[in-house]
């Protein structure tokens, strides 16, 4: 009886090992693809954020178009690279999104720019 249970446990653990191996292989592949895509699009996203930050901060623009472009850029960044993004990046993205749900209040402008500055600075580094 005990030996039968041990046999079944051994077979199940072998099957689990195969499944986990396949899953980790596909996760690794997904990570590599995201990394490659990130390195190709990094400059484009970074310049989008720099330009929109300057529009809000220096040009005093706070139209629905500017907020929409910024939201689009942040959502795109978060959804495309969530797997390789360090948690701090996701935190800064989320905080930025909360500030641009509607017209940006003056007291929140500096905080918003702080979060975007972090993301901009972070993108100076290529993912290896």
């Amino acid at each position: 009886m005990l030996s039968t249970i041990a046999d079944w446990a051994g077979i199940l653990s072998f099957i689990m090992t195969i499944i986990l191996f396949i899953l980790s292989h596909s996760l690794f592949k997904n990570m590599s693809e995201q990394r490659k895509d990130y390195n190709e699009k990094r400059i484009e996203i970074q310049t989008d954020l720099i330009s929109l930050r300057d529009n809000i901060w220096c040009d005093d623009l706070d139209s629905i178009e500017i907020r929409s472009k910024l939201r689009q850029s942040l959502y795109s960044y978060r959804n495309r690279y969530w797997f390789i993004a360090f948690p701090f990046r996701l935190y800064h993205i989320q905080r930025s999104l909360t500030y641009i749900k509607g017209p940006i209040q003056n007291k929140h402008k500096e905080s918003l720019c702080n979060h975007i500055d972090y993301l901009i600075g972070n993108m100076d580094k290529r993912e290896v």
Binding site: E44, T47, I50, S51, L52, D54, N55, D59, E65, I66
Partner: protein, 147 residues
Amino acid sequence: MNKQSIQLIQTLITKTKDDALHWTKYDDSNVILKPLPGSPLNDSLKYTGKVSLSLLESKKLDRSNSYLCEYESGVIFLLLYSGFASSDIELRVQTKKSEYSKVYASFDIDVKDLSLIAQLKRLYNLVSSRKSIADIDEFVSNFIESE
């Protein structure tokens, strides 16, 4: 060339914010965009501009979202080229007497100059927002004058 391009963009941003420049949509104007210099092998044309890759790829000029402003004897264009997955912006200048127009900044040519591309995008966002505000101002002025 990049230093001059950045200075040009900075000046355009400042003058646009001060309302010293009046931008109109390319669709709404009669100005004709002059072609770029033909052959990059011709030494006399070497510094007059480079052929933008946007013209060679399948990206199409989006006239309804491109802008121009006339200043003294010249015209400055902010052209938007739309492709399947992305868009490019190009800053081009021509004068009344010139045979060609010249590209001063473009995503394709200046792809590695972060600061230049960011400022070009900033200028485009500013101009496209400005246009919608100017429309409203004009509407209000006409409304007040009509009474």
